[in-house]
Protein backbone atom coordinates (compact mmCIF):
# COMPACT_ATOMS: atom_id res chain seq x y z
CA UNK A 1 0.00 0.00 0.00
CA UNK A 2 2.79 2.38 0.88
CA UNK A 3 4.43 1.67 -2.46
CA UNK A 4 1.12 2.27 -4.20
CA UNK A 5 0.82 5.68 -2.59
CA UNK A 6 4.43 6.46 -3.42
CA UNK A 7 3.87 5.39 -7.02
CA UNK A 8 0.76 7.55 -7.13
CA UNK A 9 2.78 10.55 -6.01
CA UNK A 10 5.67 9.92 -8.40
CA UNK A 11 3.47 9.17 -11.40
CA UNK A 12 1.16 12.00 -10.43
CA UNK A 13 3.94 14.54 -10.51
CA UNK A 14 5.03 13.25 -13.90
CA UNK A 15 1.45 13.45 -15.19
CA UNK A 16 1.47 16.95 -13.82
CA UNK A 17 4.59 17.70 -15.86
CA UNK A 18 2.93 16.46 -19.03
CA UNK A 19 0.02 18.82 -18.33
CA UNK A 20 2.00 21.96 -17.48
CA UNK A 21 2.51 22.88 -21.11
CA UNK A 22 -1.22 22.58 -21.73
CA UNK A 23 -2.13 24.74 -18.78
CA UNK A 24 0.51 27.36 -19.61
CA UNK A 25 -0.68 27.67 -23.18
CA UNK A 26 -4.27 27.92 -22.04
CA UNK A 27 -3.40 30.49 -19.44
CA UNK A 28 -1.84 32.81 -21.97
CA UNK A 29 -3.52 32.09 -25.29
CA UNK A 30 -6.85 30.88 -23.87
CA UNK A 31 -6.51 27.98 -26.27
CA UNK A 32 -6.79 24.32 -25.47
CA UNK A 33 -3.99 22.68 -27.35
CA UNK A 34 -5.47 19.39 -28.54
CA UNK A 35 -2.14 18.53 -30.12
CA UNK A 36 -0.64 18.23 -26.62
CA UNK A 37 -0.40 14.44 -26.87
CA UNK A 38 1.16 14.62 -30.30
CA UNK A 39 3.84 16.98 -29.03
CA UNK A 40 4.45 14.64 -26.14
CA UNK A 41 4.95 11.88 -28.69
CA UNK A 42 7.41 14.19 -30.43
CA UNK A 43 9.28 14.51 -27.14
CA UNK A 44 9.30 10.74 -26.70
CA UNK A 45 10.53 10.11 -30.22
CA UNK A 46 13.22 12.77 -30.15
CA UNK A 47 14.50 11.36 -26.86
CA UNK A 48 14.37 7.87 -28.30
CA UNK A 49 16.36 8.77 -31.39
CA UNK A 50 18.90 10.74 -29.41
CA UNK A 51 19.55 7.79 -27.11
CA UNK A 52 19.46 5.30 -29.97
CA UNK A 53 21.93 7.22 -32.10
CA UNK A 54 24.34 8.45 -29.45
CA UNK A 55 23.95 5.74 -26.83
CA UNK A 56 24.08 8.46 -24.20
CA UNK A 57 22.25 8.63 -20.90
CA UNK A 58 18.59 9.43 -21.65
CA UNK A 59 18.58 12.57 -19.51
CA UNK A 60 21.41 13.96 -21.64
CA UNK A 61 18.88 14.01 -24.47
CA UNK A 62 17.45 17.15 -22.92
CA UNK A 63 20.19 19.22 -24.53
CA UNK A 64 18.73 18.25 -27.87
CA UNK A 65 15.07 17.75 -27.03
CA UNK A 66 14.46 21.09 -25.34
CA UNK A 67 15.62 23.35 -28.18
CA UNK A 68 14.11 21.08 -30.80
CA UNK A 69 10.65 21.02 -29.25
CA UNK A 70 10.86 24.69 -28.31
CA UNK A 71 11.37 25.76 -31.89
CA UNK A 72 8.80 23.31 -33.17
CA UNK A 73 6.28 24.90 -30.83
CA UNK A 74 7.43 28.41 -31.63
CA UNK A 75 7.01 28.01 -35.36
CA UNK A 76 3.82 25.99 -35.10
CA UNK A 77 2.24 28.91 -33.31
CA UNK A 78 3.76 31.43 -35.68
CA UNK A 79 2.72 29.82 -38.94
CA UNK A 80 -0.30 27.68 -38.18
CA UNK A 81 -2.09 28.98 -35.11
CA UNK A 82 -1.54 32.71 -35.34
CA UNK A 83 -3.43 33.26 -38.62
CA UNK A 84 -6.51 31.61 -37.18
CA UNK A 85 -6.09 33.46 -33.95
CA UNK A 86 -6.06 36.77 -35.76
CA UNK A 87 -9.09 36.03 -37.87
CA UNK A 88 -11.03 35.02 -34.77
CA UNK A 89 -10.11 38.03 -32.70
CA UNK A 90 -13.65 39.34 -32.48
CA UNK A 91 -15.39 36.02 -32.09
CA UNK A 92 -16.86 35.49 -28.69
CA UNK A 93 -16.49 31.71 -28.55
CA UNK A 94 -13.40 31.08 -30.64
CA UNK A 95 -13.10 27.46 -31.61
CA UNK A 96 -11.10 27.68 -34.81
CA UNK A 97 -7.87 27.46 -32.85
CA UNK A 98 -9.00 24.31 -31.07
CA UNK A 99 -9.69 22.77 -34.45
CA UNK A 100 -6.36 23.81 -35.90
CA UNK A 101 -4.55 22.17 -33.00
CA UNK A 102 -6.52 19.01 -33.65
CA UNK A 103 -5.46 19.14 -37.27
CA UNK A 104 -1.87 19.45 -36.12
CA UNK A 105 -2.40 16.46 -33.86
CA UNK A 106 -3.59 14.33 -36.81
CA UNK A 107 -0.71 15.53 -38.93
CA UNK A 108 2.02 14.88 -36.35
CA UNK A 109 0.76 11.45 -35.31
CA UNK A 110 0.47 10.23 -38.85
CA UNK A 111 3.72 11.81 -39.94
CA UNK A 112 5.38 9.77 -37.22
CA UNK A 113 3.56 6.68 -38.47
CA UNK A 114 4.80 7.27 -42.01
CA UNK A 115 8.37 7.99 -40.89
CA UNK A 116 8.91 5.47 -38.12
CA UNK A 117 6.23 2.83 -38.65
CA UNK A 118 3.79 1.51 -36.10
CA UNK A 119 6.41 -0.35 -34.07
CA UNK A 120 6.67 0.01 -30.30
CA UNK A 121 10.02 1.16 -29.04
CA UNK A 122 11.60 1.42 -25.62
CA UNK A 123 15.00 2.25 -24.28
CA UNK A 124 16.17 -0.17 -21.69
CA UNK A 125 18.42 1.25 -19.04
CA UNK A 126 18.47 -1.33 -16.25
CA UNK A 127 20.11 1.00 -13.73
CA UNK A 128 17.21 3.40 -14.12
CA UNK A 129 14.37 0.92 -14.16
CA UNK A 130 15.34 -1.15 -11.14
CA UNK A 131 13.29 -0.31 -8.12
CA UNK A 132 15.25 0.99 -5.20
CA UNK A 133 13.87 0.52 -1.75
CA UNK A 134 13.79 2.84 1.22
CA UNK A 135 11.82 2.43 4.42
CA UNK A 136 10.18 -0.62 2.90
CA UNK A 137 8.87 1.32 -0.09
CA UNK A 138 9.82 0.61 -3.66
CA UNK A 139 10.12 2.84 -6.66
CA UNK A 140 12.25 2.75 -9.79
CA UNK A 141 15.00 5.33 -10.02
CA UNK A 142 13.62 6.67 -13.32
CA UNK A 143 10.38 7.71 -11.66
CA UNK A 144 12.16 9.29 -8.73
CA UNK A 145 14.30 11.31 -11.12
CA UNK A 146 11.14 12.14 -13.02
CA UNK A 147 9.53 13.40 -9.84
CA UNK A 148 12.42 15.75 -9.13
CA UNK A 149 12.57 16.99 -12.69
CA UNK A 150 8.84 17.69 -12.61
CA UNK A 151 9.06 19.66 -9.39
CA UNK A 152 12.10 21.54 -10.64
CA UNK A 153 10.49 22.44 -13.96
CA UNK A 154 7.30 23.60 -12.28
CA UNK A 155 9.29 25.68 -9.82
CA UNK A 156 11.57 27.10 -12.48
CA UNK A 157 8.62 28.04 -14.66
CA UNK A 158 6.87 29.66 -11.74
CA UNK A 159 9.99 31.66 -10.98
CA UNK A 160 10.49 32.57 -14.62
CA UNK A 161 6.96 33.92 -14.93
CA UNK A 162 7.17 35.85 -11.72
CA UNK A 163 10.59 37.49 -11.94
CA UNK A 164 12.04 37.47 -15.44
CA UNK A 165 11.27 40.24 -17.89
CA UNK A 166 9.86 37.86 -20.47
CA UNK A 167 7.86 36.09 -17.78
CA UNK A 168 6.31 39.34 -16.65
CA UNK A 169 5.41 40.16 -20.23
CA UNK A 170 3.79 36.74 -20.58
CA UNK A 171 1.76 37.26 -17.45
CA UNK A 172 0.72 40.71 -18.53
CA UNK A 173 -0.45 39.32 -21.86
CA UNK A 174 -2.35 36.53 -20.18
CA UNK A 175 -4.22 38.96 -17.98
CA UNK A 176 -5.16 41.50 -20.60
CA UNK A 177 -4.18 41.16 -24.22
CA UNK A 178 -5.13 44.71 -25.19
CA UNK A 179 -3.52 46.37 -22.23
CA UNK A 180 -0.33 44.42 -22.76
CA UNK A 181 -0.13 45.39 -26.39
CA UNK A 182 -0.75 49.02 -25.43
CA UNK A 183 2.25 48.73 -23.14
CA UNK A 184 4.35 47.88 -26.15
CA UNK A 185 4.33 44.12 -25.73
CA UNK A 186 4.07 42.30 -29.04
CA UNK A 187 1.35 39.84 -28.12
CA UNK A 188 2.05 37.43 -30.97
CA UNK A 189 5.72 37.25 -30.10
CA UNK A 190 4.63 36.42 -26.56
CA UNK A 191 2.32 33.72 -27.90
CA UNK A 192 5.12 32.22 -29.96
CA UNK A 193 7.40 32.10 -26.95
CA UNK A 194 4.69 30.72 -24.67
CA UNK A 195 3.79 28.04 -27.16
CA UNK A 196 7.44 27.21 -27.55
CA UNK A 197 7.89 26.89 -23.79
CA UNK A 198 4.73 24.80 -23.47
CA UNK A 199 5.89 22.41 -26.15
CA UNK A 200 9.42 22.29 -24.76
CA UNK A 201 7.92 21.14 -21.47
CA UNK A 202 6.16 18.40 -23.44
CA UNK A 203 9.58 17.50 -24.76
CA UNK A 204 11.01 17.32 -21.25
CA UNK A 205 8.06 15.19 -20.20
CA UNK A 206 8.88 12.88 -23.09
CA UNK A 207 12.43 12.50 -21.83
CA UNK A 208 11.18 11.84 -18.32
CA UNK A 209 8.65 9.25 -19.44
CA UNK A 210 10.69 7.25 -21.90
CA UNK A 211 12.93 5.32 -19.47
CA UNK A 212 9.87 3.51 -18.10
CA UNK A 213 7.40 4.01 -20.92
CA UNK A 214 7.38 3.23 -24.63
CA UNK A 215 6.90 5.22 -27.78
CA UNK A 216 4.91 4.75 -30.94
CA UNK A 217 3.02 7.17 -33.17
CA UNK A 218 -0.11 7.46 -31.04
CA UNK A 219 1.65 7.08 -27.69
CA UNK A 220 0.62 10.57 -26.63
CA UNK A 221 -3.09 10.09 -27.10
CA UNK A 222 -3.70 8.27 -23.83
CA UNK A 223 -1.98 11.02 -21.93
CA UNK A 224 -3.90 13.63 -23.87
CA UNK A 225 -7.21 12.88 -22.19
CA UNK A 226 -5.53 12.48 -18.83
CA UNK A 227 -3.97 15.89 -19.28
CA UNK A 228 -7.31 17.53 -19.98
CA UNK A 229 -8.64 16.07 -16.77
CA UNK A 230 -5.59 17.22 -14.86
CA UNK A 231 -5.70 20.83 -16.01
CA UNK A 232 -9.41 21.21 -15.40
CA UNK A 233 -9.02 19.65 -12.00
CA UNK A 234 -6.20 21.95 -11.05
CA UNK A 235 -7.66 24.97 -12.79
CA UNK A 236 -6.97 25.83 -16.42
CA UNK A 237 -3.98 28.13 -16.46
CA UNK A 238 -2.63 27.26 -13.04
CA UNK A 239 0.81 25.67 -12.87
CA UNK A 240 0.63 24.46 -9.25
CA UNK A 241 -2.87 23.31 -10.18
CA UNK A 242 -1.46 21.07 -12.90
CA UNK A 243 0.87 19.43 -10.40
CA UNK A 244 -1.85 18.91 -7.83
CA UNK A 245 -4.27 17.69 -10.52
CA UNK A 246 -1.62 15.24 -11.66
CA UNK A 247 -1.10 14.01 -8.11
CA UNK A 248 -4.82 13.43 -7.63
CA UNK A 249 -5.06 11.43 -10.85
CA UNK A 250 -1.92 9.48 -10.02
CA UNK A 251 -3.24 8.61 -6.58
CA UNK A 252 -6.70 7.59 -7.81
CA UNK A 253 -5.12 5.29 -10.36
CA UNK A 254 -2.54 3.83 -8.09
CA UNK A 255 -4.39 3.53 -4.82
CA UNK A 256 -7.83 2.98 -6.35
CA UNK A 257 -6.78 -0.14 -8.17
CA UNK A 258 -5.69 -1.73 -4.92
CA UNK A 259 -9.42 -1.98 -4.18
CA UNK A 260 -11.21 -2.14 -7.51
CA UNK A 261 -10.37 -3.18 -11.05
CA UNK A 262 -7.98 -0.79 -12.69
CA UNK A 263 -10.35 -0.16 -15.58
CA UNK A 264 -12.89 1.30 -13.17
CA UNK A 265 -10.44 3.87 -11.85
CA UNK A 266 -10.60 5.61 -15.23
CA UNK A 267 -14.37 5.86 -14.82
CA UNK A 268 -13.82 7.46 -11.42
CA UNK A 269 -11.44 9.93 -13.00
CA UNK A 270 -14.03 10.85 -15.63
CA UNK A 271 -16.69 11.24 -12.98
CA UNK A 272 -14.47 13.44 -10.89
CA UNK A 273 -13.74 15.47 -13.98
CA UNK A 274 -17.43 16.05 -14.67
CA UNK A 275 -18.17 16.85 -11.05
CA UNK A 276 -15.38 19.43 -10.98
CA UNK A 277 -16.57 20.95 -14.23
CA UNK A 278 -20.07 21.35 -12.89
CA UNK A 279 -19.39 22.28 -9.32
CA UNK A 280 -16.16 24.19 -9.51
CA UNK A 281 -15.31 24.83 -13.16
CA UNK A 282 -12.46 27.13 -12.24
CA UNK A 283 -10.74 24.10 -10.73
CA UNK A 284 -8.94 23.82 -7.43
CA UNK A 285 -6.38 26.55 -8.11
CA UNK A 286 -8.03 28.50 -10.88
CA UNK A 287 -7.71 32.13 -10.08
CA UNK A 288 -8.69 34.02 -13.17
CA UNK A 289 -5.72 35.38 -15.02
CA UNK A 290 -3.28 34.16 -12.41
CA UNK A 291 -0.95 31.20 -12.68
Amino acid sequence: MGSAILNGILMGSIYGLTAIGLTLIFGVLKVINFAQGAFLMLGLFSTYWFVELTGANPYLALIFVVPFTYFTGYYTQKFLIKPVFESEKDVREPIGVIIVTTGIWYMLDNLALMLFGAEYRTINVPSLSEAISFFGLYAPLSKIIGFFISITIAGALFWFLKYSKMGKAIRATSQDREAASLMGINQYKIYNVTFGIGIAICGIAGTVLLPFYYVYPTAGMHLDILDFVIVVLGGLGSIPGALVGGLIIGLIESVGSQFISYSWTIEIIYLLFLVILFVKPEGLFGVKGEF
Binding site: E93, Y106, F228, S263, Y270
Partner: protein, 333 residues
Protein backbone atom coordinates in the same frame (compact mmCIF):
# COMPACT_ATOMS: atom_id res chain seq x y z
CA UNK B 1 -37.04 31.97 -74.32
CA UNK B 2 -35.75 33.29 -71.08
CA UNK B 3 -35.90 31.47 -67.80
CA UNK B 4 -35.82 33.39 -64.58
CA UNK B 5 -33.30 32.46 -61.93
CA UNK B 6 -36.07 31.11 -59.86
CA UNK B 7 -37.29 28.84 -62.61
CA UNK B 8 -33.78 27.48 -63.09
CA UNK B 9 -33.54 26.83 -59.42
CA UNK B 10 -36.84 24.97 -59.45
CA UNK B 11 -35.64 22.85 -62.33
CA UNK B 12 -32.34 22.14 -60.61
CA UNK B 13 -34.07 21.24 -57.39
CA UNK B 14 -36.43 18.84 -59.09
CA UNK B 15 -33.58 17.39 -61.06
CA UNK B 16 -31.36 16.90 -58.03
CA UNK B 17 -34.17 15.34 -56.01
CA UNK B 18 -34.82 12.87 -58.79
CA UNK B 19 -31.11 12.16 -59.08
CA UNK B 20 -30.75 11.44 -55.40
CA UNK B 21 -33.68 9.08 -55.49
CA UNK B 22 -32.47 7.33 -58.59
CA UNK B 23 -28.94 6.71 -57.38
CA UNK B 24 -29.63 3.09 -56.41
CA UNK B 25 -31.09 2.54 -59.88
CA UNK B 26 -27.99 3.81 -61.64
CA UNK B 27 -25.43 2.58 -59.20
CA UNK B 28 -25.63 -1.14 -59.08
CA UNK B 29 -22.41 -1.53 -57.18
CA UNK B 30 -23.28 -2.18 -53.57
CA UNK B 31 -19.98 -0.77 -52.46
CA UNK B 32 -20.58 2.58 -54.11
CA UNK B 33 -23.97 2.51 -52.53
CA UNK B 34 -22.27 1.80 -49.24
CA UNK B 35 -20.18 4.93 -49.73
CA UNK B 36 -23.32 6.91 -50.45
CA UNK B 37 -24.88 5.53 -47.29
CA UNK B 38 -21.79 6.49 -45.31
CA UNK B 39 -21.95 9.97 -46.80
CA UNK B 40 -25.65 10.33 -45.98
CA UNK B 41 -25.09 8.89 -42.52
CA UNK B 42 -22.50 11.53 -41.77
CA UNK B 43 -24.60 14.22 -43.41
CA UNK B 44 -27.33 13.31 -40.99
CA UNK B 45 -24.99 13.28 -37.98
CA UNK B 46 -23.37 16.57 -38.81
CA UNK B 47 -26.74 18.22 -39.40
CA UNK B 48 -27.95 16.98 -36.03
CA UNK B 49 -24.69 18.09 -34.42
CA UNK B 50 -25.13 21.50 -36.00
CA UNK B 51 -28.11 22.27 -33.74
CA UNK B 52 -25.71 22.60 -30.85
CA UNK B 53 -22.33 23.01 -32.48
CA UNK B 54 -23.53 25.42 -35.13
CA UNK B 55 -26.66 27.30 -34.18
CA UNK B 56 -26.25 27.26 -30.41
CA UNK B 57 -22.66 28.38 -30.92
CA UNK B 58 -20.71 26.01 -28.68
CA UNK B 59 -18.34 23.15 -29.49
CA UNK B 60 -19.69 19.77 -28.40
CA UNK B 61 -17.09 17.00 -28.77
CA UNK B 62 -19.03 14.08 -27.37
CA UNK B 63 -21.79 13.25 -29.81
CA UNK B 64 -20.58 9.67 -30.13
CA UNK B 65 -22.18 9.15 -26.73
CA UNK B 66 -25.63 9.82 -28.21
CA UNK B 67 -24.95 7.49 -31.11
CA UNK B 68 -23.96 4.85 -28.58
CA UNK B 69 -27.10 5.44 -26.51
CA UNK B 70 -29.34 5.15 -29.56
CA UNK B 71 -27.54 2.06 -30.82
CA UNK B 72 -27.54 0.29 -27.48
CA UNK B 73 -31.13 1.07 -26.53
CA UNK B 74 -32.64 -0.15 -29.78
CA UNK B 75 -30.32 -3.14 -29.98
CA UNK B 76 -30.96 -4.29 -26.44
CA UNK B 77 -34.71 -3.90 -26.94
CA UNK B 78 -34.51 -5.82 -30.19
CA UNK B 79 -32.19 -8.62 -29.13
CA UNK B 80 -33.57 -9.25 -25.67
CA UNK B 81 -37.17 -8.12 -25.79
CA UNK B 82 -37.88 -8.62 -29.49
CA UNK B 83 -39.12 -5.09 -29.93
CA UNK B 84 -38.87 -3.84 -33.47
CA UNK B 85 -35.89 -1.55 -34.00
CA UNK B 86 -38.30 1.01 -35.45
CA UNK B 87 -39.82 1.40 -32.01
CA UNK B 88 -36.47 0.96 -30.30
CA UNK B 89 -35.15 3.78 -32.43
CA UNK B 90 -37.56 6.26 -30.91
CA UNK B 91 -37.14 4.85 -27.43
CA UNK B 92 -33.41 5.40 -27.86
CA UNK B 93 -34.01 8.88 -29.20
CA UNK B 94 -36.16 9.91 -26.27
CA UNK B 95 -33.77 8.39 -23.76
CA UNK B 96 -30.91 10.16 -25.44
CA UNK B 97 -32.77 13.49 -25.41
CA UNK B 98 -33.32 13.12 -21.67
CA UNK B 99 -29.63 12.40 -21.15
CA UNK B 100 -28.85 15.35 -23.39
CA UNK B 101 -30.90 17.66 -21.20
CA UNK B 102 -29.40 16.27 -18.00
CA UNK B 103 -25.89 16.78 -19.33
CA UNK B 104 -26.83 20.11 -20.89
CA UNK B 105 -28.22 21.66 -17.71
CA UNK B 106 -24.86 22.09 -16.02
CA UNK B 107 -22.64 22.23 -19.10
CA UNK B 108 -24.28 25.21 -20.75
CA UNK B 109 -23.17 27.29 -17.83
CA UNK B 110 -19.63 26.59 -18.97
CA UNK B 111 -18.01 28.65 -21.65
CA UNK B 112 -16.06 27.78 -24.74
CA UNK B 113 -13.17 25.52 -23.96
CA UNK B 114 -14.77 24.12 -20.82
CA UNK B 115 -17.89 23.10 -22.68
CA UNK B 116 -15.83 21.22 -25.25
CA UNK B 117 -13.97 19.39 -22.50
CA UNK B 118 -17.13 18.63 -20.54
CA UNK B 119 -18.84 17.01 -23.51
CA UNK B 120 -15.70 15.08 -24.29
CA UNK B 121 -15.47 13.82 -20.74
CA UNK B 122 -19.13 12.88 -20.78
CA UNK B 123 -18.66 10.80 -23.93
CA UNK B 124 -15.46 9.30 -22.59
CA UNK B 125 -17.25 8.39 -19.37
CA UNK B 126 -20.09 6.72 -21.28
CA UNK B 127 -17.66 4.66 -23.34
CA UNK B 128 -15.65 3.50 -20.34
CA UNK B 129 -18.89 2.73 -18.54
CA UNK B 130 -20.12 0.45 -21.33
CA UNK B 131 -16.62 -1.04 -21.49
CA UNK B 132 -16.85 -1.97 -17.83
CA UNK B 133 -20.41 -3.20 -17.67
CA UNK B 134 -21.24 -6.69 -18.74
CA UNK B 135 -24.81 -6.82 -17.54
CA UNK B 136 -27.19 -4.51 -15.72
CA UNK B 137 -29.57 -6.84 -13.92
CA UNK B 138 -31.18 -8.91 -16.67
CA UNK B 139 -29.90 -6.66 -19.45
CA UNK B 140 -26.92 -7.90 -21.36
CA UNK B 141 -24.74 -4.99 -22.36
CA UNK B 142 -21.82 -7.07 -23.52
CA UNK B 143 -19.02 -4.92 -22.13
CA UNK B 144 -16.14 -4.41 -24.52
CA UNK B 145 -17.29 -7.31 -26.70
CA UNK B 146 -20.27 -5.41 -27.98
CA UNK B 147 -23.46 -6.94 -29.31
CA UNK B 148 -23.86 -8.72 -32.62
CA UNK B 149 -27.33 -8.43 -34.05
CA UNK B 150 -28.63 -11.65 -35.51
CA UNK B 151 -29.31 -11.49 -39.15
CA UNK B 152 -32.72 -12.93 -39.85
CA UNK B 153 -33.36 -12.25 -43.52
CA UNK B 154 -35.22 -9.45 -45.25
CA UNK B 155 -37.76 -8.01 -42.89
CA UNK B 156 -39.15 -4.53 -42.55
CA UNK B 157 -40.18 -5.07 -38.94
CA UNK B 158 -36.70 -6.25 -38.07
CA UNK B 159 -35.10 -3.41 -40.02
CA UNK B 160 -32.92 -5.84 -41.94
CA UNK B 161 -32.20 -6.39 -45.60
CA UNK B 162 -29.52 -8.14 -47.59
CA UNK B 163 -29.42 -5.40 -50.14
CA UNK B 164 -28.11 -1.98 -49.21
CA UNK B 165 -30.83 -0.23 -51.20
CA UNK B 166 -33.40 -0.06 -48.38
CA UNK B 167 -30.75 1.34 -46.05
CA UNK B 168 -29.99 3.95 -48.65
CA UNK B 169 -33.59 5.08 -48.84
CA UNK B 170 -34.04 5.04 -45.09
CA UNK B 171 -31.02 7.20 -44.37
CA UNK B 172 -31.90 9.43 -47.32
CA UNK B 173 -35.37 9.95 -45.89
CA UNK B 174 -33.88 10.62 -42.49
CA UNK B 175 -31.57 13.23 -43.97
CA UNK B 176 -34.39 14.91 -45.89
CA UNK B 177 -36.65 15.01 -42.85
CA UNK B 178 -33.88 16.35 -40.68
CA UNK B 179 -32.83 19.01 -43.17
CA UNK B 180 -36.44 20.11 -43.67
CA UNK B 181 -36.92 20.15 -39.93
CA UNK B 182 -33.80 22.28 -39.59
CA UNK B 183 -34.95 24.67 -42.29
CA UNK B 184 -38.35 25.14 -40.70
CA UNK B 185 -36.93 25.38 -37.22
CA UNK B 186 -34.39 27.97 -38.20
CA UNK B 187 -37.10 30.09 -39.77
CA UNK B 188 -39.20 30.00 -36.64
CA UNK B 189 -38.89 31.79 -33.35
CA UNK B 190 -36.84 28.94 -31.90
CA UNK B 191 -34.34 29.27 -34.72
CA UNK B 192 -34.07 33.02 -34.37
CA UNK B 193 -33.58 32.73 -30.64
CA UNK B 194 -31.10 29.91 -30.93
CA UNK B 195 -29.00 31.78 -33.46
CA UNK B 196 -29.12 34.96 -31.42
CA UNK B 197 -28.06 33.11 -28.28
CA UNK B 198 -25.29 31.40 -30.20
CA UNK B 199 -23.90 34.59 -31.69
CA UNK B 200 -23.95 36.67 -28.55
CA UNK B 201 -25.53 35.25 -25.40
CA UNK B 202 -25.41 38.51 -23.50
CA UNK B 203 -26.97 40.63 -26.23
CA UNK B 204 -29.60 37.93 -26.74
CA UNK B 205 -30.50 37.91 -23.06
CA UNK B 206 -31.03 41.65 -23.18
CA UNK B 207 -33.65 41.02 -25.85
CA UNK B 208 -35.57 38.80 -23.47
CA UNK B 209 -34.17 35.47 -24.66
CA UNK B 210 -33.66 32.73 -22.11
CA UNK B 211 -30.51 31.55 -23.83
CA UNK B 212 -29.95 28.51 -21.64
CA UNK B 213 -33.48 27.26 -22.31
CA UNK B 214 -33.05 27.45 -26.07
CA UNK B 215 -29.65 25.82 -25.91
CA UNK B 216 -31.22 22.99 -23.94
CA UNK B 217 -33.94 22.60 -26.54
CA UNK B 218 -31.21 22.42 -29.18
CA UNK B 219 -29.32 19.87 -27.13
CA UNK B 220 -32.39 17.70 -26.65
CA UNK B 221 -33.20 17.79 -30.36
CA UNK B 222 -29.60 17.13 -31.32
CA UNK B 223 -29.33 14.21 -28.92
CA UNK B 224 -32.66 12.82 -30.09
CA UNK B 225 -31.79 12.90 -33.79
CA UNK B 226 -28.26 11.67 -33.23
CA UNK B 227 -29.56 8.67 -31.32
CA UNK B 228 -31.82 7.74 -34.24
CA UNK B 229 -28.70 7.52 -36.36
CA UNK B 230 -27.22 5.22 -33.72
CA UNK B 231 -30.12 2.81 -34.10
CA UNK B 232 -29.79 3.02 -37.87
CA UNK B 233 -26.09 2.24 -37.57
CA UNK B 234 -26.76 -0.83 -35.44
CA UNK B 235 -29.20 -2.31 -37.96
CA UNK B 236 -27.03 -1.38 -40.90
CA UNK B 237 -23.73 -2.81 -39.61
CA UNK B 238 -25.43 -5.42 -37.38
CA UNK B 239 -22.73 -5.10 -34.79
CA UNK B 240 -22.13 -2.51 -32.11
CA UNK B 241 -19.41 -2.16 -29.53
CA UNK B 242 -18.22 0.70 -27.36
CA UNK B 243 -15.25 0.99 -29.69
CA UNK B 244 -17.34 1.31 -32.82
CA UNK B 245 -20.17 3.58 -31.67
CA UNK B 246 -18.74 5.36 -28.67
CA UNK B 247 -15.18 6.26 -29.49
CA UNK B 248 -13.73 9.72 -29.32
CA UNK B 249 -12.61 9.81 -32.94
CA UNK B 250 -16.22 9.54 -34.06
CA UNK B 251 -17.20 12.55 -31.96
CA UNK B 252 -14.31 14.47 -33.41
CA UNK B 253 -15.03 13.45 -36.97
CA UNK B 254 -18.63 14.65 -36.79
CA UNK B 255 -17.52 18.00 -35.44
CA UNK B 256 -14.75 18.40 -38.01
CA UNK B 257 -16.85 17.57 -41.00
CA UNK B 258 -19.48 20.07 -39.91
CA UNK B 259 -16.87 22.73 -39.22
CA UNK B 260 -14.97 22.24 -42.45
CA UNK B 261 -18.29 22.42 -44.28
CA UNK B 262 -19.34 25.50 -42.35
CA UNK B 263 -21.05 25.28 -39.00
CA UNK B 264 -24.10 27.30 -38.22
CA UNK B 265 -25.33 27.10 -41.79
CA UNK B 266 -27.73 24.54 -43.14
CA UNK B 267 -25.71 23.69 -46.19
CA UNK B 268 -22.32 23.56 -44.44
CA UNK B 269 -22.55 20.19 -42.69
CA UNK B 270 -24.19 18.65 -45.76
CA UNK B 271 -21.42 19.86 -48.02
CA UNK B 272 -18.79 18.81 -45.52
CA UNK B 273 -20.00 15.23 -45.52
CA UNK B 274 -20.53 15.23 -49.27
CA UNK B 275 -16.97 16.26 -49.98
CA UNK B 276 -14.94 14.92 -47.07
CA UNK B 277 -16.29 11.40 -46.69
CA UNK B 278 -15.66 10.41 -50.33
CA UNK B 279 -12.25 12.07 -50.10
CA UNK B 280 -11.49 10.07 -46.98
CA UNK B 281 -12.76 6.86 -48.54
CA UNK B 282 -10.70 7.55 -51.63
CA UNK B 283 -7.45 8.31 -49.83
CA UNK B 284 -7.91 5.37 -47.50
CA UNK B 285 -8.42 2.98 -50.38
CA UNK B 286 -5.72 4.26 -52.67
CA UNK B 287 -3.11 5.60 -50.28
CA UNK B 288 -3.96 3.99 -46.96
CA UNK B 289 -2.65 0.53 -47.70
CA UNK B 290 0.51 1.71 -49.44
CA UNK B 291 1.44 4.34 -46.92
CA UNK B 292 -0.43 3.82 -43.66
CA UNK B 293 -1.28 7.10 -42.00
CA UNK B 294 -1.09 9.20 -45.16
CA UNK B 295 -4.86 9.54 -45.40
CA UNK B 296 -5.20 10.81 -41.85
CA UNK B 297 -2.28 13.14 -42.41
CA UNK B 298 -4.17 14.59 -45.35
CA UNK B 299 -7.31 15.01 -43.27
CA UNK B 300 -5.30 16.91 -40.66
CA UNK B 301 -3.79 19.08 -43.35
CA UNK B 302 -7.18 19.88 -44.88
CA UNK B 303 -8.46 20.79 -41.44
CA UNK B 304 -5.59 23.19 -40.80
CA UNK B 305 -5.75 24.76 -44.26
CA UNK B 306 -9.50 25.28 -44.12
CA UNK B 307 -9.20 26.88 -40.71
CA UNK B 308 -6.47 29.23 -41.88
CA UNK B 309 -7.86 30.22 -45.26
CA UNK B 310 -11.58 29.59 -45.04
CA UNK B 311 -12.64 29.78 -41.39
CA UNK B 312 -16.34 29.97 -42.21
CA UNK B 313 -16.09 26.64 -43.96
CA UNK B 314 -16.03 25.59 -47.57
CA UNK B 315 -19.71 26.43 -47.96
CA UNK B 316 -18.68 30.02 -48.62
CA UNK B 317 -16.62 29.10 -51.66
CA UNK B 318 -19.26 26.73 -52.96
CA UNK B 319 -21.99 29.31 -52.53
CA UNK B 320 -19.93 31.84 -54.47
CA UNK B 321 -19.20 29.36 -57.24
CA UNK B 322 -22.79 28.28 -57.51
CA UNK B 323 -23.92 31.90 -57.69
CA UNK B 324 -21.55 32.51 -60.58
CA UNK B 325 -22.73 29.32 -62.17
CA UNK B 326 -26.34 30.41 -61.81
CA UNK B 327 -25.60 33.74 -63.40
CA UNK B 328 -23.99 32.12 -66.40
CA UNK B 329 -26.80 29.66 -66.83
CA UNK B 330 -29.52 32.24 -66.60
CA UNK B 331 -27.75 34.33 -69.23
CA UNK B 332 -27.40 31.46 -71.61
CA UNK B 333 -30.84 29.95 -71.30
Amino acid sequence: MGLSKKQIKVILLIFSTITVFLIPVFIKSQSYLQIFIVVLFFMYLTTAWNFVGGFAGVLPLGHAAFIAIGAYVSTILFMQYHISPWIGMFAGGIFSAIIGVIIGLPTFKLRGAYFALATMAFAGGIKVLIDNIDTIGPINVGGPRGILINYSGNSFVNFQWVSKVPYYYIILTMVIILVLFTVFMMKSKIGYYLTAGGEDPEAAASLGINVAKYKLIAMALSAFFTALAGSFYAQWILYISPQSVGNMNLSFEIAFIAIIGGRGTIIGPILGALLLKPLEEFTRTYIGSALPGAHLFILGLVLVLVMIYQPRGIQEIVLKLSRKFMKRISKKV
